[in-house]
Subunit: 459 residues, 2 copies
């Protein structure tokens, strides 16, 4: 039902209406696309130019050669309805409108948006936008927005963002957290295509494993619940929902009454439909990291191994509050751990091994314990010790083992690592754990992310 | 009433009982203290050694010369009561016991701890520990634990941590967040000195501006409420409380009932006594950063300036949920902002200036608006743009202004900055804002930290 979106992500040819020599989207996007190998399939349109970045500029959309599936519109808002008319006449049925100055800009803009929509409907055109930055498809390196090279590394994350800038926020920072995008869409004013269309499309996209969505409000509440209910049976959908209008109301009224009421409705809708709601941007990113790299757990039973009792306790608190259980270790695991353990070590869950040297053994045993569905390893060692022993060849691997290999003992169980303290220590732990293990730098977010896996799986 | 703690932080001389050549505390702490200039005031004790790190080793505590105010005990648990007897006989009245193997290690250890306490009482000795790493005083570079050089930079944060490792966690990471310690204490098993003694001491410590406390349980609930009620009238106390025992119970029972009950009591106690409870380690650190650098607000009215509507909305949501208000701008400020603003810009709070170029003006106007008690500036610009314009000399300062100077327009109002996205952009923003402005990398924690300032001030 949303197969029509294929033309947005995999156009055979693209008309860019509003290419221009002045700095901005009309200058930068052609350069970006040319750099990604799209020069031959990109047709720039501007009645008052003939050449840009060494590419021919066509005076009218009608002049653009075949094949062309998609138009990207960057002209001033007032010129958009006319451009849509030309685009429709040329037989193009997919359009990204990046121009701003529509419904978000008041009554006049709202009228203009309705006019544009009428033109689009007349021609059977499907529109993403206006007031957005369109799409990114890392697989074919197609993008209707200037993004950094690093963000084009193909991955398994699907992004749906209502706001263009927010899309950029994610695209700029994800790769540094080990997350890579499959497809991203910014929706803007949603005059036609909305989050439901994209959710259904990403549901069938083989490259997308987890969907991150930022919403300021549902375009159609009932349809969103239905769509989420369908999509979350196949793929996890992580939602960050702000109350843009709610906060505006709150700002005016200096009270939160209506906002929390509305927010509770969203909470219920997400819970009912199986979407996982993140409470903050950081939490959204943390959730995405475990869904992008970890299997789903068979049950809610978390094993915690730690070299700090305090951090283990904080992790346990967060895990239990988020719906996980901390089971007792199975008799065999407990027996195994008691052998060779110093007298002060309490063999329980969380398993605080302190400076016993048993960290590796404990993580392996916990991962292999049939009483445990997933494992959180908390690693901390005073950095004065790390620094002191580094010259003697002792590294975090000495203290904590080859975590990537140990983790492979139970590839079917989710595993996360939490390393706290000095940035150099955390960087060492990141190399040690590698890309298959999500690394958190404090215990609570790690525990909540693992809980999100179970929340999705339980459904 | 807790003036006796002075000897722990400013001893004229220190006896270290259990200095040894084998790796560990007994080897490392003497080296650490010597490196910090304490060699002349440090008296190592070990009956079976004569020299360590070029320092004389005394066979018995009785041999240690005057003046000596403090003993640090690192011998095996079983030898501690005997050591306390020697220490008491030598006239030393302040002792840090770092040795483990007491109440935390079961019934036998508990009996040993009671025995040690009896000896201490007999001699009128005050004890920090056992099972701790003692104290740090950055002003005189005195420390009973090996910590990294960076952690000894003097600052205005007081730390009370029940667990030794947790103290290290903080000491390893704080300087990277612009936080610097005045005094730190790890309490361990609290056989004598507890968090209340230290709270009262730090209350009167002129170097301590904000107190961070990590607790696993109150030593004496009623006294803690009384003490906090007294201390928080003078200084903010930020508390992170884990339910170590609660999590243990929860682990066994796989249910959270009793734990949440207990936790609710702590919540109420902290609220009643004016302490600010952090919900996570990250939140504790975020709170500390605003308290360490910002003035207290005159009221709950937050002004938000942003270059991203989405992030502004997320900040507003978090602020209002945490008890702040987002007032309408005063007429004069609104008028000032409307002049020269593009048509698409909505002059309201949050004030989303988008790419208008009015960011600096907006932050200045917001800071000077009498309707606003504190300001959160959210800065984001797609990193592709930053990278593209850098060769032309355009930097974050071009887009966002000299924030350190702008902030100085209203030094009496709390100010925080949130920069989101690429690490290089965040690093640029950190240099731009400088040490007087706390920089957050996502909007919700920034808003909640400002709300914590108001929560304390309201009291």
């Amino acid at each position: 039902m949303s197969g029509f979106l294929k033309e947005f992500f995999e156009p055979r040819g693209v008309a860019l209406v509003g290419a221009t020599r002045t700095p901005g989207f009309g200058y930068g996007i052609p350069l970006m696309l040319k750099g990604q190998g799209w020069g031959e399939r990109l047709y720039l349109v501007n009645p008052s130019a003939t050449e840009l970045h060494g590419m021919k500029v066509y005076p009218r959309v009608a002049d653009v050669p075949d094949p062309v599936d998609l138009a990207v519109v960057i002209v001033g808002a007032a010129a958009v309805p006319g451009a849509l008319n030309e685009i429709g006449a040329r037989g193009i049925r997919s359009v990204v409108i990046e121009s701003a100055g529509f419904a978000e800009a008041g009554d006049e803009g709202r009228a203009l948006q309705e006019k544009a929509l009428a033109v689009a409907r007349e021609h059977g055109i499907r529109v993403i936008g206006p007031n957005c930055v369109g799409v990114v498809n890392t697989k074919n390196r197609f993008t209707t927005v200037e993004i950094i090279e690093e963000a084009l590394q193909p991955g398994n994350v699907g992004i749906i963002a209502q706001s263009g800038v927010f899309g950029n926020v994610l695209l700029d920072g994800l790769h540094e957290r080990g997350l890579h995008v499959a497809k991203a869409v910014t929706l803007g004013n949603r005059m036609d295509v909305n989050e439901c269309d994209v959710l259904d499309y990403l549901r069938h996209d083989p490259d997308t494993r987890v969907i991150m969505m930022y919403l300021e409000g549902a375009a159609d509440g009932r349809r969103l619940i239905e769509t989420l209910g369908r999509v979350t049976r196949d793929k996890p959908v992580l939602v960050l929902k702000s109350g843009r209008t709610g906060a505006g109301r709150a700002a005016a009224a200096s009270h939160t009454g209506s906002m929390s009421g509305e927010d509770a409705l969203y909470d219920a809708a997400f819970a009912q439909s199986g979407a996982i709601r993140a409470q903050s941007l950081e939490e959204l990113l943390g959730f995405a990291r475990v869904f992008a790299t970890q299997p789903l757990p068979a049950g809610p039973r978390l094993g915690v191994v730690t070299s700090s009792g305090s951090l283990g306790a904080l992790a346990a608190d967060a895990a239990v509050s988020a719906g996980l259980e901390l089971p007792a270790l199975s008799a065999a695991t407990a027996q195994k751990m008691r052998e060779g353990a110093p007298g002060w070590m309490n063999v329980k869950n969380p398993l605080d091994v302190g400076p016993s040297g048993l960290y590796q053994k404990a993580v392996a045993a916990m991962l292999q314990d049939p009483a445990v569905d997933m494992v959180l390893a908390v690693a901390i060692i005073p950095f004065a010790v790390v620094r002191q022993f580094k010259p003697f060849g002792l590294t975090p691997k000495t203290w904590f083992g080859d975590l990537a290999s140990i983790r492979a003992l139970a590839p079917h169980k989710p595993f996360a690592l939490c390393a706290v303290g000095h940035s150099e220590f955390i960087a060492d732990m990141a190399s040690l754990s590698g890309p298959s293990i999500p690394l958190f730098t404090s215990p609570e977010p790690a525990a909540r992310a693992l809980a999100a896996l179970w929340k999705h799986q339980r459904r």
